[in-house]
Symmetry: C2
Subunit: 701 residues, 2 copies
């Protein structure tokens, strides 16, 4: 018998009822039109495109996910490059628009060496270059004649961009800049696409001209030969090594040794260095770029919705299939026989999962609102009106922080809620957690971002106190602060659990709680002279409180204001979304209970009502659990999860994926001859265990 016989499972069915039947029963319980809820969120057009592109990708070997969970780092990089190249061809063959290409990348769901070329290199070249530079850099980048990355972070500097060490010194004699890395810590680090793929990099370096340091500015620098891809002289470049996740990307380092680049490499749309004299020309007002940050963050919020959608789809479907124990007080029956209880029927499982489903919809409504306000604000700024900007920008910092922190935590909660199998990579949740995690650090560290939001909240509070701020539709912060100052001893009016379903009661509570926290911090700093540093813990809390208010409000108001939800056909959808908005708000209130109790706003009797209402909402949503995640419309190709399969064939998928494990391609493991056989054969030599099989051994005793 050869050693290369792959292991195959016997052809047996799982213990019944099967996952297929269980999920069908769940789907029959759904109170609303699942497909219509998908259309409400994505539009029919987008869904049709997604279906069509999924079909294309499923037949493309370069986009095949079958081997995704078994690859070594080197295999990950080379298959990613394959996908990158094939995508450039597919875009042409299929005539995909930018949106369609984005959908393809969304479905593939894995970053690659070219990801930063599209997400950072090209956008930077679009916004920060002169026309001459667009010809020189942007045009070839769009054609993939050069491949770029964005090199900002250094080994010693992340959040503090002003502390970057790499220098770019203007040399008037040759009209060049000299890029230099003065220390080990000045090595660029973490730069996606730089490690192995990029030919060019946007390098953020301290501009030094005429002996003066003007701080970090962007330069477009060629780093590898266009003939043979070797690093150019004066450059040390490579991959920074294995990471917790994101190992399909070649995050890299680069160091420069007095490396010369021409004057035209300095991206000169805003600030300029005059050729010859080296005179520095300052950029105009930087406020405009805040708009872009809002846009990026709105998209991160929308992205965190997909993260939650993916995690909850997997966990909820599997929880409806997986049965464990019999709930004696309320045994589940199937064909008149008691079966083990599907774990989704346990309140604790619902408490762990359903609020995350609710949060998915909450993120959707807030992301949509952020994009709406972004458009409004861009329009307003064109007319010189910056009124909207401050609140929008400040909230976007805290919302990026809060939603990504919530999303990553929910992914892990969902993974654990899948029990032991959540730990298998076949769950689709492990690598996903690892790959999503950088979201809490990039585009602003989540802790540091809260300071931006809180600084604005404190400033607004002082303005409201001084009578210098007037409530407006576009500034709810001023509104809730004003209301608080009018009645800082307010109490929650609830007298029965159902009162907690009242949207006005909910919004008042969240507004009051945020305002109370802000007032406390302002008092500590302004009256008691506490330092900013000593208040950082509370500063993070008020940012969170404010952003929870925003999430709750956008969910509630979004439902009320959306005309497309007010038709009779959509009443069931509108109803289930209302229930979810209540769950999201009340579950959040329960998690943050101390901050509602502290000002005496909520009493312990009301807390008991609140908790009862949360449990009763879980109960109400429970029959729609599978329908609600089905509505996220995430295809199996996207999920690539044994536990989250639409058809519920969980155990079949687990065993099929185990058969593909490379270790199972041979019967006897590598290392047996050297490491196991010598030990065992000693026993054989001693004569006790000469025969195979316990039967014979035992009979010899």
């Amino acid at each position: 018998m050869s050693n290369n016989i792959p292991t195959r499972f016997p052809d047996l069915a799982p213990k019944g009822p099967s996952g297929e039947l269980l999920l069908a029963a769940e789907r029959a319980k759904t109170s609303f039109d699942v497909k219509d809820l998908s259309r409400f969120m994505y539009t029919k057009k987008w869904l049709d495109k997604m279906t069509q592109i999924t079909e294309v990708l499923e037949s493309e070997p370069a986009f095949d996910k079958t081997n995704r969970y078994y690859q070594s780092r080197e295999e990950k990089i080379s298959t990613s490059l394959w996908k990158d190249r094939r995508l450039t061809e597919l875009v042409k063959e299929q005539k995909w628009s930018e949106t369609e290409t984005q959908i393809a990348n969304f479905l593939f769901d894995q970053s690659t060496p070219f990801t930063l070329h599209y997400n950072m290199f090209i956008p930077t070249l679009r916004t920060q270059t002169t026309d001459e530079q667009k010809k020189l850099f942007l045009e070839p980048a769009l054609k993939h004649h050069i491949i770029g990355c964005y090199a900002q972070t250094e080994l010693g500097h992340g959040s503090n961009v002003q502390g970057l060490e790499t220098t770019a010194t203007y040399i008037p004699e040759t009209n060049e800049f000299e890029i230099h890395s003065p220390t080990l810590t000045s090595s660029k680090w973490w730069i996606g696409g730089l490690g192995k793929a990029a030919t060019h990099a946007i390098v953020m370096a301290r501009l030094i001209t005429n002996g003066k340091d003007f701080g970090p500015h962007p330069f477009c620098v060629q780093i590898r030969s266009l003939q043979d891809h070797r690093p150019l002289k004066g450059i040390t470049v490579g991959d920074i090594g294995p990471k917790f996740g994101f190992n399909t990307v070649d995050n890299g380092f680069i160091m420069f040794e007095h490396y010369r680049i021409p004057h035209v490499a300095f991206l000169a749309k805003y600030s300029k260095v005059k050729a010859g004299s080296g005179e520095y020309v300052k950029p105009p007002n930087a406020k405009l770029s805040y708009g872009t940050m809002v846009f990026v963050r709105a998209n991160i919020v929308m992205g965190s919705r997909f993260a939650l959608a993916k995690a909850t789809t997997i966990a909820i479907r599997y929880s409806a299939v997986r049965q464990q124990f019999v709930d004696a007080a309320n045994p589940r029956k199937w064909d008149n026989k008691i079966i083990e209880t599907p774990v989704i029927d346990y309140t604790m499982q619902q408490y762990r999962l359903l609020p995350a489903v609710a949060a998915t919809y909450a993120f959707f409504f807030t992301g949509r609102e952020m994009l709406r306000l972004y458009d409004l604000n861009q329009e307003a700024m064109k007319n010189g009106n910056f009124d909207l900007l401050a609140d929008l920008h400040a909230s976007s910092s805290g919302l990026k922080s809060l939603t990504t922190t919530m999303a990553i935590s929910s992914i892990e909660d969902c993974r654990r809620a899948c029990g032991g199998h959540g730990y298998s990579n076949f769950s689709g949740l492990g690598q996903f957690y690892q790959d999503y995690l950088p979201n809490v650090t990039w585009e602003g560290d989540n802790y540091i971002l809260t300071q931006q939001t809180s600084r604005y909240l404190l400033k607004t509070f002082r303005n409201v106190v001084a009578g210098k701020a007037v409530p407006s539709e576009y500034n709810q912060t001023i509104t809730y602060l004003t209301q608080y100052l009018e009645n800082p001893k307010a109490k929650c009016p609830a007298t029965k659990p159902a009162d907690f379903l009242n949207p006005e009661l909910i919004l008042s509570a969240f507004g009051f709680r945020a305002a109370y926290g802000i007032a406390q911090v302002a008092e500590q700093i302004d009256r008691h002279g506490r330092t900013w540093n000593s208040m950082l813990v509370e500063i993070a809390r008020i940012s969170k409180a404010h952003c929870q208010f925003v999430l709750v409000r956008n969910f509630i108001i979004g439902l009320q204001a959306d005309a497309s939800l007010s038709t009779p056909e959509r009443r069931p959808i509108s109803n289930v979304l209302k229930t979810l908005s209540a769950l999201f708000a009340l579950y959040t209130m329960e998690q943050e209970l101390a901050e509602f109790l502290l000002p005496g706003y909520l009493s312990s009797e009301q807390t008991a009502m609140l908790k009862a209402q949360v449990i009763s909402l879980l109960d109400e949503i429970r029959p729609n659990a599978v329908g609600l995640v089905d509505a996220f419309a995430l295809p199996d190709y996207f999920l690539h999860s044994a536990l989250g399969k639409y058809d519920g064939k969980v155990y079949e998928a687990m065993t099929q994926m185990a058969e593909r494990e490379p270790l199972n391609h041979t019967q006897v493991v590598q290392g047996y001859e050297e490491c196991i056989k010598p030990l065992i054969s000693q026993g054989q030599a001693e004569g006790r265990w000469r025969q195979d099989g316990l039967l014979q051994v035992a009979s010899k005793l």
Copy 2:
């Protein structure tokens, strides 16, 4: 120039002050004798052994960690087998005792295919076999003539052991058992060591004899040939595939097709099946085995202390080296020049890390106390006294749940507190998180375990109410419940922040809060008829509240009762531990604030004092931060972390480890010719980018 030139960093120093100097400055601030605190925790003897064994391992190629973060799954398995074999030799060469072997495994810090042979196979054979079976199975197992594993969990059944499907039917005709897997879900799954290494397995299967099903019982089953390691006929066995972590272990599956084993394979120390008649003989009282569970869980608590110790050592050392921004209100100076502030000086960073340091010591005192009570209880049970057992066993369930949940969450908090570099595997925290994670699932799922604790708490509450339980030194649960019932409207007596440092005040508060929660749940269930399922959320909360009481109490009482801490020389150590115990208690109180506010026990004024006291404790502990983690005495070999190195040479280590990345062994990446060159060369063909280097290109424009 060949493509195989490895990438090397230039010989540059990091920006000063260096990590070495910064850590030296931290160490000079320590108020106590670091080495003496290590001795207090571990004993001098254990520390000496560890030092000695570390030296041995550092010169053993099979124990080398250099390539640990770069290996594919197959490499992980084969190098793990190499370590397993070499360890069997080292034990003989070095004449290591069991403790010394454990220290070697602790230092190696990675599970292997043989881990379950030692941790489950041998212990099961020790405790559940007859003398005949010890000769047949245990003796060869101890000599590694057979390699075993423990096969309980199935694809469809984890926590619910009674639901296992695999059958073992007694065949009187041949005096055999027939092991059979009736369904796909009955496949054994997750079994460490089974996938590729084991020759034998303890299989938990439903015993069926004379047509009656007696539920799961253990059998010792040979599964692979001792001649050539191939699976025996009737067996399908293999590796379950890649996991979130633990990929150095061959977790496996196995299915049996009417597989016969002899009568002697049934582990017959407790229950028996009579040969011939097949008559089943019941085991004696199962209570005795609860003692073993307490022992296992006490060791998990002690293990979670090491998990925290490792994570905090890395995060604190790196936080003392890493500088970011200047704290304008309190700039840090070095040689009279302002430098960027080491991040450990930011209150938020202290708030994220120092409570985890305090928890490490808290887990130590509770683990020690659990082991002491375990010994006491074993002694008492021998004398027929089961008084201690119930409280000890119940608390151990919740403590396993709470401490492992806290540990895993702290590992991740520490990883994030390391900023971007925490995401690099070189931090030592990523793979560590992945490998530690199963602790929240195995030995009882952490959510399910809380139900065991709470069931006991509710029962005890009812007994106290009925006057059937009397407070005793060994049952603090009865004590705090009795106190609560005497004064259910008690209030916290604190009138100034310093009052919160009073150990009695702290213990009363935690006791009251636990009792209040228990009373509420009892009322809901006993008076309002709420089902157990509908109360699961609160049931988890009271288990946590009780275990936090236990952790706080063991820390405080442990310090008070330990004579070895009362000498004048150890006063500084005693002082710093007292401060840590206060931080642990008050930080926990702040995290669980709602439960202290809800019963009206704490007022909002007192909360402000509490929060102020927490910040002031952080400030007090801050100068000892590095000393406190140094005292954990974890060698660099154990940590294997660039960020956590004792000498603070963080950036040197990061770059050295990056040089070893396999992708950096060649200058041009695999995939360039097929995927990148075709794209770029189109640009070359168009004539725009014919020359290398931007200089030439630009000059042509």
